[in-house]
Each structure stands twice: as structure tokens, then as C-alpha cells.
Amino acid sequence: MSAAPRAQGGLTLIEIAFSLVILVFGVVSAMLLFPAGLKAQQLSRFQLYACAKAQEMIDSFNSSHNANPAIDTEAFNPWDVPVSRRTQAWDLEERLSSNSFGMLPLPSDIAKRLDSDGDEIQHILSEGGYLYYSQPMATTNLQESSLQTTPANEAQRLVCAVSGYAQNNAMHIFPWKNWPYVTPFPSPPLHGLHYPDFLSPRGPQTPTTFRWVDSWTDGKNSDGSDKIVGANDGKTASYCWEETSDPDIQKVFNWKEGNTDYGYFPYCCGKLSHNGSGIDPTQPATSQPIDVPSEVVPDYKGALRYFEAALWYCKQKGLRPEFYNPPPEILAAYNPVAQPLSTAQDFPFEPGTKSEDRWKQVQAMRFLAHAATCLTRWYSSAEFAASSAPVDICTGITNPTSADPVGTDPRLVMLTYAYTVGINIPNVTLDTLAGPLAFSDVQPASPGMSGPSTPPSIDHMTAATGNQFSRLTHHHLLYYHERCLRLIMAFAAANPYDWGAPRPLQRSIMTDFPLFESDLFANPQVGLPFNVTDVAKTSAQWKPIPAQPISNLGRGYMFPGYAPPGMAYDAALRIPDNIYYQRALRPDGSYSYVQNPGGSGTYTYIDDKVTERHAVAPSTPCDPFWGNPAHFSLTAKFTPDERCREIVFWMVDWQSYEDVELAPSAPVDAARYPFAGPLLDGSVSTATDPGQYATLQKRMSFDETMPSTNGHPTGIEFRDEQLYTYRNPEKVLNFKTDVSNKDTGFPTVKQHFDTSVTPNKLVTDYSFEILNESDTDQGLGSFSSAIAPGDPAHTIAARAVFRGQWGADRNFNKRLDRGPIPRSVRLRAVPVARFLYYDPRVPAMIH
């Protein structure tokens, strides 16, 4: 009997169900790995982008020029120019957040929708930071309006932020005086164009304010002659800046002694200077006739008088005659043909010169060399005795060869000889002070001059006058030029904090740059902006601290003679002389600091920096201008962790938002808005109302339509390529009108061919994007627009453009884009990379 077959039991349904669950779990688990793999690949891609971007940021930060040449950089109060410690700070984030340097702030509306690990993005935003996206174009400074459409740029999904706090960086510009000033060496006293306003220097020394006929040709007149335009437009008054701190320079620049003009300006510009000292700065258009003097062209007499004035200056600086008329061995010492580098005059200052007096020799030789070289236009090499050897009357001769009466003093023989060659330079007395007795005999040597021909007596060789007599020769010219360069090169290298002489333009490397930082631990300077009386608008700025006390600080170029209209020269400008803050050697040999408020002569030693730091409470002002030197930290030692910051990168598809290009720009730091320094109101006739000066509102705009008879334009010129730091960082991409009613894909930049010309020309129409326009986003609006100047509607529209209210073409495809994601959706930003760095704090560029 066979056994009953065993029932073959199949899997029950529940077993199958379990099996399926397990299977599904396994499959799903396996599938979950795929997106992880994709994410890893994506992360890898974006880490590559982040590396490229970080590299570019560091490259751009270190090598990009930060010149914004159209901005005003000086005023008598720091809050009257937009250059203080923020906009141009030597801080990676501050510098790169611009349309030229690659980092553009992500609109806050979008940034606030982004989640991140630890909510780091929101923490940074809440602390006032920005989230940045990558500029679609490369950071090259090429003109954006000429660039082609950028291809899809996946790297724009990267966003980044700087985590960590900025240091107290060095002041990029000292707003009271944008030092260093530079000039070629040799050169005449510094002078230049300046609005003919009450801010020009006026004072007891009667500075040489003058007028410059700045004209140019523009086409032809009906008679075929050149059409001269531009003259008498009120923009072209000028003055000599350097005489504001050294009145002796006035003689070198422009001085009328009786009916004779001395100095550089009369020589260079002839009779144009005759009315110079009489110009009324407040009424330039009426006080100065636009004449065409008959002696406008320089001549040899002017050149001689310029040299005489330069020589006179040497004496006023207390320089010995050997300085400007040296013996042959000194002339030879400065002859580079005979002097290889190793034995050159590396210390060109006069023996025993104190450090604080070096500037006098620098200045004296600068003017002397320039004036002497001007003479080579009028005298030949033969007249300059270029082929004759220098003569030293003090070396003595035993065998005279010229007309030498036997038994006479050999020095007299040499003296006679010395006055037979070279150029005679008559001695002069200016402003009752006699010039030195060098190069001066009374014999006629210069073309057109006449007079007795008696050599000077050797009795003139006294301790006071020196013992070197000769006419001016070619050897002197070489000596002047060489010593001039050696003096300034040594001065610029050794005296960076002595501002007694400008810096040499031809110094090819190692230009000194004084270090300043703001004192964050002392009371700031406080005051009202220029032409503002509302105390509610009181402004403040930290006091500056230099690394070392500034010697010969002098006055700023732009506003050296600030005084309210109708008032005398203001001797109590905020910018001080060097009497408040001096470094002093204490009896024990250590350095300390002394305070001498008001220059009273009562000095107070500060024991040491540590004690002083605690002794002087932050709220206690210790000086009306300078900060506390104990707080200077730019050159202090530091460890990396004290200054370390991070660049953090995330990836997020923020461009998928529906308002990706319609969201307004992130809030623009008000420091990025340019404005002019104090100036007259060009819309008001200076003839009828000379005291009218520009309001703060007008200084924040530019009006080039001012009638020329009323003087100069008002405000600041919004030159796009010259003010890239002072605009909305998204400026070139911003829309300048509301495009929210346009369809997606709407071309915001249009191009067409102009078929009216051959060959046809491609014409680009920037109707909707700003790109490189200069005036669309200025506060008062463009006066070239159809809207009338001053129309509130225009003002409001321009402000909207400046702050980026209408959004921007953020991928630079020149079309309006919208993404599929509504703005109510939050996106998660995935961390990609973090890079450590710290700011250098002090300005430094790699070129």
C-alpha cells in the first residue's frame, strides 16, 4: 500500500507577500544608492567649480587694480567723500563684490529661501552678510556691453559666502589727504586744475591762484580757421598747492617783484599769469579777462628768472652754497660715467642733515634741476661750456695760463677764468630777501642783457657765501639732475612718513605707502556734512592712527584753503600740523609717545602702550584728530586663527525660481553710492550769488548741462568704467525698467544690422539692461532723459535702478528668464567646499 502522496503545499499568499516586501525592500535599497551616486558625481562636479571659483577670487583679489579714478578722495571731513574704511577696504569680500571682480550678491528674496546645514546661510544673512553667486562673465574687466551672450553656466548654481569677521583693515585712502602724491622728478611746484571756488587756498601769503585757458579745437570756423572752444567755462582755475604748506615755493612758482615776474608759471605760460594773484576765486568768470597776451610764449628771460627763483629757494631753506654750486669733485661724484653703482652717492643728503630736514634738499634740488634744464632750450652747449672742465678756484694753481699778472692771487686767476664760461645768472632779491651769490656776476652773458662786466671779487668768498664761484655750466645741469633723483629716491625709501616732498613718479618699484588704521577704541570724530545744518544728520568717523607720526603733513591738495565764504583763511583746519602726536625717545632709550594738545609746549609722556591702553578710557578723547597710537595693530604679530575666515560654497538650483531674474538686487551698501566732495553749485551764477554751494543731494548727482557762464558742473560724473566699486554690484546686469510684464524669453538686449551703411553694421540696443551706461542709476536721474531734471518721477526711477529693483539678467543670456519653481518653495543648499583664508589687511597688489 503506497503512502498517500504528500500534499505539495505552495507558498501561501502571506509568504509571498513577505517575500515581495523583502524583495522590494532590497530593490528600493539598491535603488536608493543610485541617487546617492548621482549626488556624489554632482558634488564632485561642483567641487571642481568651487576650486576654480576660489582660485579666481584669490587671483582677482590680489592682482586687480582698484582704481576708481572718477571718485573724490579728499575732503576736510572724512564723511564728505565716499572713500573711508568700507568701500575700498582691503578685504576680499568688499573688493570682489562688484561687477568687475566676479562676486555678485544673491537677491535677498531668494537667499532667504535657502536652507542649509546648521542654517548657516541664514545665520550669515542675519548678521548682515551676503550670499553671492558667480558672475556669469569671467572677471576680466572687458567691457561688458561688448561681450557675447554667455553660454549656460552650470557653475552659477554655486553660491558662496564669507564666514567669519573682517579685520580692521588698513585705510586704503587717507581721506584728508590721499597720500602719496606723486610727481616726476625734477619738476616745478605741484599745481593743477581746481574749481575756482572758496575752497581754493587763500591766505596771508597770497597764493597764486591763476586761471588756465583750457581750450581745444572743434572743427573749423567759416573762415577756415580752427574753431576754439572750451575757454572760459569756469572749470579751469588752478593754483599751486605746494605753497600752501611752504610759502617760499610761491616764489618758485609765480611771484611778481615790482613789474617783473619770477618763477615757473610766468616762464611756462607767459603773461597769462599776470592777473593770477588778483583772481577772485568766487568770481572767476568776471575777475579774470580771457586775454591773449603778447608774451605768452616762454623766453630765455623767463627761464632765467625761474632759475633765479629756484636758487633763491635754496638759500631760504638754509642750504650751503656747495649744495647748488659744488666743487669739481662733487660734480664728478654725481657723474655716473665715472661712478659705478657700488661707489655711487647712496646717501645724497648734505653732511649732518637731520632726518626731519631732508625734504628741504629734495625740494630745492627738484626745482633747481627743473629750472636749470629749461635753460637748455635757450642756450647752446658751447654757452654752457660743456667742453670745459669744471673749475675749482680753491685748489689753487701755481702756473696760471691765462692773463695772470705775476704775483696775483691764483684764486683770482681761476675766478676770472670761471666767469668767462657758462651762463651768468643774475642774483635777485625777492620779497626783500636776497638770493645767494652764486653764478652771479654782473657781466652781460645772456642774450639781450647788458651791464658792466666786472668779475666778482674774491672777497665775496666768506663763510656765509661759500667759496665756489662760477657761472652755470653743463656740468651743473648733470649734477642737479643726478642729485635730484638720488635725493628723492633715498628720501622715498627712508622717509615714508615724511610728507614734506611728493613721491617720484619714475620710481618703478617699492613705492612707499603709509599705513593707517582706524581707531575703533576711541571716540570718533563727529561733525556735520558739508552744507548740512540739520543736527540729525550728524556724521562720525573713526580717528586715524598712522604707523609712525607724520612729519610735514601739510594740507590736502583738494581743500587746502577751506574757509567759509567771506571768511579769512582758516588756520584751524581739522587736518593738523604735526604737533599733536609725536614719537619721542624717553630718557631710558625706549620709544614712547607724547601728547601736546594744541601745541602748548607741555608734553605728557605716556608710559607704555599697555598701561596707556587701560589708562585712556575709550570714551576719553586724547586728541581731536588722531587716534590712540597704542591701538595700532597693522604690524602686530598674529596667529592665523586670529584672522582666519572661510569661503563657503554651496550648490543649489536657485536659478529655477520663477523670480530668478525679477527679484530685486540684494540691499546695496550705501557706501557704494558715489558722491562729490564739497563744491560750488554750478547752477547758480557765481557773479550774482558767489556763496551758493552744492547741496548734498546735488553732490550725489551730475549735471553737465550747467550753463558755462555759471561756472562748473555740479556733482560727480558717473563714469561707468571709472566707478565700478561705487555702484550696485549687479549694475551691468540690472534691468533699468520693469520687465515683469514681459514674456519669458523676452530679449532684454536686442541686436540688428543697420542696412543703411555699407558694410552693414551690427547695432546693439540696450533698452532694458544697464550694462555700461553711466548715468541711468544716479540719484537725480539722467538729465539726458526725456524726463525733466529734478522731476521727482525721474529721481525715483533712477533710485530704483540703482538698487536693482527691477531685477537683473543674472545669467547674461540677454533674455528674461523664469524658472519653474514658485517662490513659496524652499530649496536646500548642499555644502560643496570650504576654503580657509585671511585678508592681508594692508593694500598690496601683484603686478
Binding site: M31, G37, L38, Q41, Q55, M137, A138, S146, A386, R507
Partner: protein, 445 residues
Amino acid sequence: MPSHRQPFQYRRGGFTLLEVLIATAMGVVIIGTAFAAFRVASQTVTIANRLSLENAMMRAGFSKAQEELDFWQSYDDPDVTQGEKLRATLAPASLQGAHGLIFAPMATLLPPPAASTDTFEGAQGWDDRAWLAHDSRSWYRGNMAEKYDTALIFGRYAIFASADVGTTAFYSGASTAAVGSPPAVNPPVAPPVVPPIPDYSGVAVPHHWHDRQLSAFLRNTSPYMLSEYLPANTIYCFAETFSNGGTDRGGIPLMSIQPGDENSFCNQDGGQKNARGKYRQTYRTTWSVPPNDPQVQPGGPADPTIFSERWKSQRRYFETGYASTPESINDFVQVTTITTPVLDVAPTHWPRVTLSVNRFIKNARSIALFRLRLSSPVTGSVYEVCFTGFGTTLRGARQQRYYDPSDASSADAAGRRRGWASWDDPIPGQTPAAIPDPTLDTPRL
């Protein structure tokens, strides 16, 4: 009758219809799920592979860009036949040396003189130890205010420094007639009588070194090379013997101060008529380096025609600033960009990745601009990453490259050493002290 009983059989119960339906449905679900899963998996793997491939190629491109930053292979590649295409020189120049492209040996561009004339100020040739702030030879001694239509009212500055070591001739004569240049736009009002400029012959000019350096760089090399070699604040100007039509009255060569068209050294920014430095020269316009592959011709790098093209390209400026147009920028990009594939050979379905490099100077900044472009042959989509970076200067790149003055053979001649840097290639058999720094900057004086 015996019953014929069928053997007992279990009733083999089949699935009920319901079970079949459920089983079928489940089967369909399983198969469908599995199919979908495999499909998704397949697609995911494909995407992952593609992303991986793209990433690998992008990494390769980025790596190539880093190498290019450091080694400049796109411009001069000693490892490739015909790779040294920018080393050519042609025809001695009037003063010293020869016109050369940016990788021409310095020994031909600024050759040293015989030892007997190698004096302090009279020294010639490139000396990388010079151009120090304290070295008086390196100071500019001209008059920066001197315009090309000068009447010399500020005097003669060529008496202090001149590129001519021998006798320097100076202008004398009338001061109102134009000399080799258009009439002044805004001339001073002429007086009734202007005395002529007197003779100033027979004087020995003391300084030469700076002006000889400037002259040689300006005449024999390119603006890009000039600005990469000389200190950042150098004034690009010098003086020499007066020549009617060649210099102004003060002896400054018109080429260094007179604005002209794109083939001139001076751009037209502001109509400036006097000496300038790097920022002013690259604020409105751009200096760049000559192009590469598009100009390679069978005649080789020394082909005079090709040389002429490249010489012209490296000597011109490009309108890329405020006066630019889309056409001028396009011209700049076309002429100066070198684009190469990251992979020379690859399957057709692989994404194409190209790397372009463009080296130029704008706003005084030396820029190496890279564009890493990925295009998919499948979807046609294009992605581009553009970035700049720190890297080796032209001077550094030239110092990486070996130069053997005795080797006049072709680029791939046997036995020629090709060190990327001189310190990698000591000369066999010689002590280090005897090595004359065998780079393209050889010889040091």
C-alpha cells in the same frame, strides 16, 4: 462484478481563477517593478557614468588649465614637434638684437655686447639682477611732460640719458615747425619772433642703460613681454638721437608717445601725447600675446610670412574697454584665444570638452583666462566654466625653458635637452657654478 475502481487520485486542485488573477497581477507588478527598477537603474547608471565621464573630463580640463597656468604649453611646447612656434626671430633691429616672438631667446632679443664694452651704463643685454629701486641705472630720466610736438620749453632731457652710447645728436633749429608729427592741436599762441633752438652738440650723455633696455624691449619684443619683464611702475619711454620723423625734438621716439591705430604701441585714450605706464596703456585697450594653432603653417615657425603675422599680432593693442564694440571684442577673442580639446581622440558619443586660454593684460592686471567648455553630442547642450588663476608669468615660463646657444638645429634634433626649468637640467660634466643659467633668458651678464 468487480468494480473497477479508479485508483484514488487526489483532486489536483488548480488555482482558482481568483488566485490566478492575483498571481498574475502580482507577477505583473513584480515584473513591472523589476523592469522599471532595472530601467531606472540602467538610466541611473548611464547618467552616473555620463556624469562620471564628464567629471573626469572636466577634471582633466581643469588639470590641464592648471598646467597651462604654470607651463604655458599652448604657447610653447618643447615636447611636441613644431611646438616651439613662438621662438622665431627675424632681421636685426636697428639698435640691438632682433625682432622676436615672445619665446625667442633673450640672447637674440637683447644680446650682450663684447666684454670690452660691457660697462656700467653702457651695458646691454638682459640682466635680471638690475631693475632694482636703488640701482640708479634703472631710473627714468626723461621729461614726462614732454609731448610729441614739444617746443622744448622744459629743456633737453636727452642730455641726461639716451639709448645711444656714442654721440647723441640733438635737435636744433626752428621751434614752431612740426617735427615728424601732426601740428599741435592746441598750440600756444605764437609770438612775433621765436628764437631757434640752439645747438647742443658735443656733450657726453652719462646714462644709457635704462634707455637701451626700453629701446630693445619696445622695438624687439612685444608690449606684453615688456610689461611682464619690467617693473610694474615702469614708464615706457626713452630718448635717443634726434631724427626727423622718428623722434620728437627732445629725442623721444614717436612710437613711445604718439597715439596711433591698433598697430601702434600707444592707444588713443584721452589723446595723450606723452609718456605713460602700464595702467594707462591697458585701461582702454588690452595687450595680448600672439595666437597659436590657427596660424601654424607648413612653413614652420620660422616661415617669414607666419612670423610677420605673429609679429603683427603681438605688437598690436585690442579695443576691449570703453571704446570697444562687439566686433572689436570678437576680433580680440578670435585673434588671441587658443582652444584645444582636452582629449585629442575620443569616442564620438563622449562629451566634447575643450579648454581655451587667453592671456592678456587689462587694467594693469595680467590675466590668464580659461574657458572650459563641455558640449554633449547627444543632447547638444553646452556648459562652460570660465575662470582665471594665478600662475607663472611669461618671464617665469621663459626661465623654465632650456636654451642652448650652440644648438641651431631644429626643434626635435637629437640630443637636445628640453628641461622645463633650468634647475632640472644641469649640464652634464659641468659644475653648477659653470652653468650659465641655460634658460631663454640666457645669458645673464
